[in-house]
């Protein structure tokens, strides 16, 4: 494989392969940012991959009080799924179990999409007849009485069909600490990109996968080509000196958001250099036949 070099970091001439997804966004507010984030973190727990969790979700961005509908601090959460029904089901159950229950929370639409998804429309029945409908300013809200006052929730949010899931970067480093350092720098840069989330723990995944496996029923199994302990015994993608690999997976509201996030992550890891971070940066794909969106690393270099 041909390689380019930037600041001493080798860049594989390859591409990340990504898929079209359905996505939505909501704004969660609370009396303090701590509690808005707590509701958001709880809601986006166990949402790393659609394969096992039904959806992929994370906090997109924190919002100051001046930028939220009710003038309290909050954050924007994005949720991705493969189909509209899956997305609605995940949204309803996560909202009901994690946001409705969180102290002082309120919830608003975070996206003006092509179709509505129910928010308060599906939770209002918790009010047992005491829920209050309010329509003003072209929007519809539900107010549900709860033990600390009221859960205020917009009736619907928007759905977009232009979302993309599966943008990724692989950081190949001399040891675990350097791989983690490179990935953390990249995560910090990508967090500043609006409309893009990284659903894995802290934005980073260490168990990258390939499609299928030798055991029946396994939809995905370890990406042995990038497992350093198998370098000598399988058809490895790893060069001598690489002893750890970490991956960042990116879902974006649009294809442009994914590209912008990958560009920001690449720049951060390249600026860090090989001595403290990655020796080499690559990306994961399936040969280009499965995903509609291809992000070539050479097009995204700083």
């Amino acid at each position: 494989m041909q390689q380019l070099s930037r600041n001493g970091v080798l860049i594989d001439d390859t591409f990340a392969e990504a898929f079209g997804m359905r996505a939505t966004a909501i704004i969660i507010t609370a009396p303090t940012l701590k509690w808005a984030r707590q509701a958001a973190i709880t809601m986006t727990g166990y949402a790393t991959s659609v394969i096992g969790c039904g959806c992929e979700a994370a906090i997109d961005v924190d919002l100051p009080a001046s930028k939220t509908p009710d003038g309290r601090p909050g954050c924007r959460v994005m949720i991705f799924a493969m189909g509209t029904d899956d997305l609605q089901k995940q949204l309803k159950s996560r909202l009901g179990q994690c946001v409705l229950t969180s102290p002082g929370s309120a919830c608003f639409a975070g996206l003006e999409g092509t179709a509505p998804l129910d928010l308060g429309n599906s939770l209002r029945y918790f009010g047992d007849g005491w829920q209050i409908s309010k329509k003003f300013g072209g929007k519809h809200y539900w107010r549900v009485p709860v033990m600390d006052g009221e859960f205020l929730c917009e009736a619907t949010t928007g759905l977009t069909k232009l979302a993309v899931g599966g943008g990724n970067l692989l950081f190949l480093a001399a040891d675990n600490a350097k791989a983690l350092n490179a990935a953390e720098y990249a995560v910090a840069a990508i967090e500043k990109v609006a409309g893009a989330i990284m659903p894995f723990p802290g934005g980073i995944v260490r168990s990258g996968s390939k499609v299928g496996g030798k055991y029946k029923g396994m939809m995905a199994s370890t990406n042995d080509a990038f497992a350093p302990t198998l370098r000598g015994v399988v058809d490895s993608a790893l060069t001598p000196g690489v002893n750890a690999v970490l991956e960042i997976v990116i879902d974006g509201e649009t294809s442009d958001a994914v590209a912008a996030a990958m560009r920001a992550g690449l720049k951060a890891a390249i600026d860090l250099g090989p001595a403290k971070g990655a020796l080499r940066i690559s990306a994961g794909n399936y040969g280009g036949k499965l995903g509609k969106f291809h992000y070539h690393l050479k097009d995204l270099l700083p």
């Binding site: 507010t29 009396p31 509908p69 009710d70 003038g71 309290r72 002082g104 309120a106 007849g129 005491w130 209050i132 409908s133 309010k134 329509k135 003003f136 300013g137 809200y141 107010r143 600390d148 006052g149 009221e150 205020l152």
Partner: protein, 272 residues
């Protein structure tokens, strides 16, 4: 294109029904045809040309130069466009208004905004009885939209209000929010007796603790609710008021328990 302007020639000597002078009704009509429309309500009814001088062409932007308390049903059925009245209007201004904006630079008679469905009606002066209310025999009053009275409203404001927002900025008479079904009634300034009497659901939002509520309203404490922030911001964004109405932790009464008791009176606390 200049606004289609009806300049009042002299005070009319009969009550006028101006419901035919809306953008939708006048679209495609020449000045001569408009001048022949019947607006009088007496045995020998006046025509538009008898009462107004007509200038301008833009039917989506209608202006009445001069007003009268005999201008009934002005802007009734308005569905799009803008109508401005530089003076007073009579009864049922903006009746069943479903879109567009109606601005009255003076005061309005009874039943202003009665049965409104959507759109915006703003009255700079005072409004008569039954603001946004239902006519006799109707089961609901205003059903949507935004109705603003910069001055005072008389009795029974928001009678049978079902949806939408009414804001009265300089106080109102007795029985505000009478028989409210739902919706939001904002009142700044003094309210008269029996505010919210027999309201089933809906919100009465006041800038001070209510006086003379029916004894069937029950105090519900001082809940800290996000809705007060959200609605205060809406009122300020719409330039209805320039400072928060409720503020944090508004006081609350629930009622009217003489009926379903699902309504609320939220009010700004005196010490905030």
């Amino acid at each position: 294109m200049k606004a289609l302007t009806f300049s009042l020639l002299a005070q009319p000597d009969e009550r006028l029904d101006l419901s035919c002078l809306t953008p939708a009704a006048l679209a495609g009509l020449a000045d001569v045809q408009i001048a022949k429309l019947r607006i009088g309500t007496s045995r020998n009814p006046a025509l538009v040309g008898d009462v107004f001088r007509i200038t301008g062409k833009d039917v989506n932007n209608i202006v009445f130069e001069g007003g009268s308390s005999r201008f009934d049903k002005l802007g009734a059925g308005l569905s799009a466009g803008a109508v401005r009245v530089m003076g007073d209007v009579g009864n049922q201004a903006g009746r069943r208004l479903s879109g567009g904006t109606l601005y009255v630079d003076g005061s309005a008679g009874t039943h202003a905004g009665s049965g409104m469905i959507n759109g915006r009606l703003e009255i700079k002066g005072n409004a008569g009885d039954y603001l946004g209310g239902s006519l006799a025999g109707e089961t609901s009053g205003m059903e949507g939209g935004l109705l603003i009275v910069r001055g005072k409203a008389a009795d029974y404001a928001g009678d049978r209000l079902r949806r939408g927002t009414i804001a009265i900025l300089k106080g109102c008479g007795n029985y505000a929010g009478y028989r409210m079904i739902a919706g939001t009634l904002v009142i700044t300034g003094r309210t008269g007796a029996m505010t919210g009497y027999l309201m089933k659901r809906g919100s009465l939002l006041l800038d001070r603790p209510p006086e003379n509520l029916s004894p069937t309203f029950m105090p519900c404490g001082e809940p800290d609710i996000a809705f007060s922030h959200l609605f205060d911001r809406f009122l300020m964004d719409e330039k209805i008021i320039d400072k928060p109405l409720l503020g944090p932790k508004p006081g609350k009464y629930g009622g009217d328990t003489a009926v379903s008791g699902k309504g609320e009176v939220l009010f700004r606390q005196r010490y905030r």
